[in-house]
Amino acid sequence: MSREPAVTPELAREHGLTDDEYATALKAIGRTPSFPELGVLSVMWSEHCSYKSSRVHLKRLPTKGPRVIHGPGENAGVVDIGDGWAVVFKMESHNHPSFIEPYQGAGTGVGGILRDVFTMGARPVAVMDSLRFGEPSHPRTPGLLRGVVAGIAGYGNAFGVPTVGGEVQFDAAYNGNILVNAFALGLCRSDRLFLGQAKGVGNPILYVGARTGRDGIHGATMASAEFEEGEEAERPTVQVGDPFMEKLLLEGCLEIFAAGVLEGIQDMGAAGLTSSTVEMASRAGNGVELWLDRLPRRAKHLTPYEILLSESQERMIMVARAGEEQRVLDICAKWDLDAQVVGRVTDTGRFVVRATPGYDPLSGAPWPDDPPVVVDLPVDLLTDAAPVYTRPCVDDPRLTDRYGVDATGLAFDPRSDLLELLSAPNVGSRAWIYRQYDHIVRDGTMVRPGAGDAAVVRLYCEDERGRREKLIAMSSDCNGRFCELDPRTGAAMAVAEACRNLACVGAAPIGLTDCLNFGNPQRPEIMAQFRDAIDGIADACKALGVPVVSGNVSLYNETTEQGGPRAVLPTPTIGAVGLFEKVSDVVGAGFRTAGDHVFVLGPHGDDRLGGSEWLTRRTGRVCGRPPSIDLAAEAALQSLLVRAAREGLLASAHDCAEGGLLVALAEACILGQSGAVVSLPAEYAVTPGGLFGEDPSRVVVSVTPYVLELFSRRVAEAGVPCAFLGRVGGASLSLEGVASWGLDEMREAHASALDEIVGR
């Protein structure tokens, strides 16, 4: 303890506190904080924990709905799926750690989001991963892709949760700052939810799970600063994952939940022990007192500062009812989990930490009596009174300069361009990735990755009340290029696409989670992107009637390069969850039967190429006027799809996304192992925009002739534009008067999409 540095304004600055913030803290505390207190303040007031830049904007998101049991503010959102059951889900980023050490960074990202879900009492049953890497030719891209995918696989596969979906996009804007967003969904009884609350003065606080080490100290602070050159020096701050420990922790927690002895529970994630106990105290309006001498640890001579800031993985904090501690300890012993009473709930409203200077339980000496106080701070100073900023927003004045692009001189050949797009890393098969994930464990995966527009998972709901099956769909989406060119429209399109993917498989959306990845919020043009993206998400949520139930904000995703800062594409990733009425509603994306009629549903847009994969490949940059979206038309389209699915009118349905209409047709052929003979409707031109433009709100469907009349009636009732394209059949996709492509060559092109990065 004597070696602890003296706390000075200089040291506070090194901890990421501004001079104003430090002055506020000094005034509130009434004295100079101790070194561990400074550490506690710095993590609790970090962007990552306090949401100080984003909070004022997040309030504009619609979070209410008839099925919402818990919205944002808990560890994850909870949505009712009927019959006494609920799904718990959230998406979270682990961007900076994954760039520094891709395997551990991505793996612990999965581990963290799994804990957020099971800390609420739910068993995780599905994971998705939304990934962004730099351009395929960038020297770091192959290693980062391999490491991240292996890390996700290494954690999720061993834990035993299927990774059923996700997405990946490559763009130069992510060269120096990749994105790793992990989504997890769990299943629980809606009357057996657990919250992160330190309820009941005098109740014991228990520490359960992995022992504390020095890994991940200041992870939350790292996540709250932009990258500088030499970021590899941050490596010691990356956490190391142990999925086996997490699996034991899950089973132990589920058994403790069932025993009915807990008042509250929270995982130790960002800012570890500090954040978990402070947040639990805050939610319950109580205080906590921690006894660090008793804390299970794996490293020698840990200081209070290190213990309070460690982000060692696979740890939980529980508040048990007084007298029930032994029950918790017994269940932990069954699952070979370390567990210890490390404090109690108080009525002081203060965060108090006691530790004996120089004492290390690993020495074998007994716990000393009456350890002195090393931290004594008001809980509300660390939570509600944390700084909130309304940061300046200024629209980037140069943005619209990028809209003016003359596409007439660009090389355009429908035949070779389609094969080029099918084999593009942003369009083609992701099989190299998802084959490394166990996507079928737990016997629930009905539509596997790559097989449909959204993953479909059967939930096995079983307890003493009986057994029943529920069917849900999930999808994650965001095209950062559209968000870059028009943040509000791009974000609305991300919500629309995620929900459209659910509608394509036949599910109605019941809730969203978001993971908002942006650059440095202290730059007004980044803050303007953030503000607009929030408005776009809100626009689409209102139009589609879907609430946001959980989320995460990741700022400072930028690098300092020569010529100034370079931010990632604004990437508000959306994870959407939908519910089916019955198994027969599930619709696949591939064509099924020769003779089926093929239509494109939805409005013909403006054939705009802005932000499209085709234009980005041709010009080497994200440019052009981006598509617009008519959210009322989108809502009508999605309602029609779900209704038609429920009435059994669709043989297949597939969204037009990256690569536009022609790529969607080709994908429906590849997935269905069937050709099609089609011609373009009158309003579509044989131009790059007509074939490869990425206007939203369009879905390619196939319909068996027997139900054409019923289908047409529903289309007319819905008022959704519908154009006949042709018929399913043959061994090639033939676009009359333009070109034709053999199934084999399309399949091979599609399958080779990641070859240029990871080899065959």
Partner: protein
């Protein structure tokens, strides 16, 4: 008939096995925790499920063979009871010496999850009347490359103990080899035990037993086991 699924710490396809046996095939099935010294009386079938027992940090399955429950599992086999090891369960059987050889890192060094085709190449309690039939079953493993010395392989072949072999699809996809992991002799599963009553296999029959999951080929093994148990 009565079946049990052993839960080692880190088992994660324990639910898959329980669900398929109990809910799909209709067999009375329960979990048995690894610290339990004895199997329930009247156990006909023991399943060692997939997963990462004890984290698989040393070698896959290397620690599980020391679990307290394993002594009684051996007695169950000696009595002629059925024992099925799926994926990590197969790895445990080889580590425990209940089946010969070893399962090592896939030749391409990655975890792989996809459907494969396997041909039934041997008769036994789990494959009655199925010999020659090609089944589509999923795999999900990083260590499934079967290896053994030449004498062992010859012995397995001459005694017709190779239960399942990876075979190519009718229209082969050149990008995906029929043999997904480099196993010698394309071995996907083996019989052993005093009465061919032990079966280990890398593919997951319990994940391909319902139409909703994409097929029902895996159900055949469990139906065969039910017949065998009823015949005893």
């Amino acid at each position: 008939m009565r079946a049990v699924v052993i839960q080692f710490p880190g088992s994660n396809a324990d639910f898959d096995a329980l669900h398929t046996l109990r809910d799909v095939v209709g067999v009375e099935t329960s979990y048995v925790f690894h610290k339990t010294p004895t199997l329930p009386a009247g156990t006909d079938l023991v399943v060692l499920p997939g997963g990462f027992s004890y984290g698989d940090y040393l070698r896959c399955g290397a620690i599980a063979r020391f679990a307290p429950v394993m002594a009684d599992v051996r007695r169950h086999v000696e009595r002629g009871g059925l024992l099925l090891g799926i994926c990590n369960g197969f790895q445990i059987l080889t580590e425990a010496g209940l089946l010969p050889g070893a399962l090592t890192r896939n030749a391409h060094l990655r975890f792989e999850c996809r459907d494969v085709l396997v041909r039934v190449d041997a008769d036994g309690p789990f494959t009655q009347d199925l010999r020659g039939r090609v089944l589509r079953l999923p795999i999900a493993h990083a260590e499934g490359r079967y290896q053994a010395d030449e004498a062992t392989l010859q012995s397995l072949e001459s005694k017709s103990l190779v239960a399942f072999r990876y075979v190519p699809a009718a229209a082969p996809d050149a990008r995906l080899p029929a043999n997904p992991n480099g196993s010698l002799h394309d071995i996907a599963g083996l019989y052993g035990g005093p009465r061919r009553n032990v079966l280990g296999l890398m593919p997951h029959p319990e994940r391909m037993a319902e139409p909703i999951l994409g097929g029902t080929d895996g159900r055949l093994l469990f139906h065969s086991a039910v017949r065998a148990a009823l015949a005893r």
